[in-house]
Amino acid sequence: MADLKTQLMAEFGKQNLLDAFGELSLNVDSADIVKTCLKLRDSFFFDTLIDLCGVDYLAYGQSDWDADASSSGFSRGREIQSDENTHEQRFAVVYQLLSVSKNQRLRVKAYVDEAQPIIQSVTNVWKSANWYEREAFDLFGILFENHTDLRRILTDYGFKGHPLRKDFPLIGEVEMRYDEDLARVVYEPVSIEPNISVPRVIRK
């Protein structure tokens, strides 16, 4: 791994490489993601794209639970919080790469902007990116350019919104029930209350 680290540092610059918990993480500019990925595949032998996912950094480091715990429960102390977000760009696309031939792993991270969450698709580099990119599009609304089949994948037909974004409520926005009179399924705004029983504690 040390070998790989020096090689990567030489190639992509020291400041872009992170080594934490025994894992290598490479930050790349979202504009040259395809170029980087091709290089990683062909020169660094990362032959498999194990995983690709989106991350929404909107609420990073912030605590939730402004509301009361419950009407008559004991109070739960909150400790010091760091309510600042260190991420300038809201979304990130994270690629987990694996080199089967060299037995190495690498994480590649590319940030994309909230205003324009677009990034080049890597389906031509690794075929397995196809569904993963669809998933990231479905759950985060990140658009993948040159993806041939960018449809929703996990959510329902006709679903609105991107559920894994931090501003998408946990309880959802609509609920579904069968209407006897109309004899079909209808969608209505959610009727349940959000319920968080444990606070988010952020310690420095």
Binding site: G22, V100, S128, W131, L154, V198, R200
Partner: protein, 417 residues
């Protein structure tokens, strides 16, 4: 002559071979598949979103429900990710218990796969024969965790409770004579480890039976050989892992290549296929069951010799014992703290993967320092496999689609999450 069209056919979710809720849109010409478009998400429960709103420990139970035929393996990946970030030490005994149950889970999963795969291809009896053995292993699950499927047994820092000294036994009933009852309870006289040891002795015979029933059978071979061929290069491109990759001839197994837990202290082999067709994957999985049996044997021997703690004594992560909790104020505070707000992970991110029965099951955890994960991404092996459905089925017939669904060993809990 009238124009000849391709047919568009809904295959699933209300279909016996849909393995749950797969919806395949098939474009077929006669019975030959031109295009297969899997529609997934019918079992999407938002596990990742839910996990973001809960303290870490609360999500362990939800991990069981991802791949609901290999429960403890899912838990293992999750707790390992947490342990990696907390950098806590897990007692050896707990490691061995985990490995033993990982392998029990692998056998459970492969038996389920074998039964349903057989049923898909039309062999009925194998299903029941596989369930005969599964029943015993599920009893082990129940004995150790209290639940037959969704165990919630692994915890950050170890496992919840030590293995029990006694196995529950069959009770008297009008249907059984005392002699029969004694026969049924014969392997339940000792501890759980004795029960498992007994199982490992008997299990090779059962595999032999499955082998005799299917492996050489000409119909079985006709249905599997050269169906859904994936070359080694293609398999890597498609993100295959586990038996799907090994079936294509790549000796890739995280237990060997990136050993976690105590796998580096155990002796086992990795079977690999040659052509990468369904039959090779079948053989690989059959051999994996034998190897798992071998690992379990070694674990049982070690566990019998080495009693000890199964949980870390770091009470910031693991609850104190109940006796201590009731006697000792400090323990009580730990108990309350742990069960209300949990524990905080340092800032950072890890990706932790294990060799799940279906392939590489990974947890990508991002923490912003809170007691709840900032983001949990579950890397499900079946997701990548199912994505290759179109490529694998193209040019085959409708019956082969069923074979390929079987050989991919699809479970929707993990794919849809």
């Amino acid at each position: 002559m009238a124009e000849i069209h391709n047919y568009t056919l809904n295959f699933g979710p209300q279909h016996p071979a849909a393995h749950g809720v797969l919806r395949l849109i098939l474009e077929i010409d006669g019975e030959v598949i031109k295009r297969a478009d899997p529609h997934i998400g019918l079992l999407h429960r938002g596990t990742e979103k839910l996990a973001e709103s809960k303290p870490y420990n609360h999500s362990i139970g939800y991990m069981d429900r991802l791949d609901y035929v290999s429960m403890m393996c899912n838990e293992h990946a999750f707790v390992m990710a947490i342990e990696k970030m907390l950098e806590i030490e897990v007692p050896q005994r707990a490691q061995y218990i985990r490995v033993m149950f990982d392998e029990i889970t692998r056998i459970l999963n492969h038996l389920m796969w074998l039964g349903t795969h057989g049923l898909d291809v039309g062999a009925m009896s194998i299903f029941l024969y596989a369930f005969r053995e599964r029943e015993k292993l599920i009893d082990c699950y129940e004995a150790v965790s209290g639940s037959r499927m969704h165990a919630t047994y692994y915890r950050p820092g170890g496992v919840y409770r030590d293995l029990p000294d006694k196995m529950p036994q069959y009770l008297e009933s009008d249907f059984r004579t005392n002699k029969e009852l004694a026969q049924m309870n014969k392997n339940r006289q000792g501890s759980l480890l004795d029960f498992i040891a007994d199982f490992t002795e008997e299990f090779p015979k059962s595999i032999q039976q499955y082998d005799d029933l299917l492996t050489d059978n000409r119909i079985w071979k006709q249905r599997l050989v050269n169906i859904g061929i994936v070359t080694a290069k293609r398999a890597k491109q498609l993100g295959f892992t586990g038996p799907m990759l090994r079936g294509s001839g790549v000796a890739w197994d995280l237990r060997k290549k990136q050993p976690y837990s105590v796998y580096n202290q155990l002796d086992f082999d990795i079977p690999v296929g040659v052509t990468g067709d369904s039959y090779d994957r079948y053989l690989v999985r059959m051999e994996e069951m034998r190897q798992s049996n071998r690992i379990i044997k070694q674990c049982v021997a070690w566990l019998k010799d080495n009693p000890g703690e199964v949980m870390s004594d770091d009470h910031k992560v693991a609850p104190p014992s109940r006796v201590a909790m009731k006697d000792d104020m400090e323990s009580l505070i730990h108990h309350f703290k742990l069960f209300t707000e949990g524990y905080c992970l340092p800032k950072g991110e890890v990706y932790c993967a294990i060799e799940h029965p279906k392939g590489e099951f990974g947890i990508y955890l991002i923490s912003d320092g809170a007691n709840k994960p900032y983001r949990v991404k579950i890397r499900a092996p079946g997701f990548a496999h199912l994505a290759a459905m179109d490529e694998m089925t193209k040019g085959h017939m409708l019956s082969d689609v069923v074979t390929i669904i079987g050989t991919q060993d699809i479970v929707f809990g993990e794919i849809d999450r």
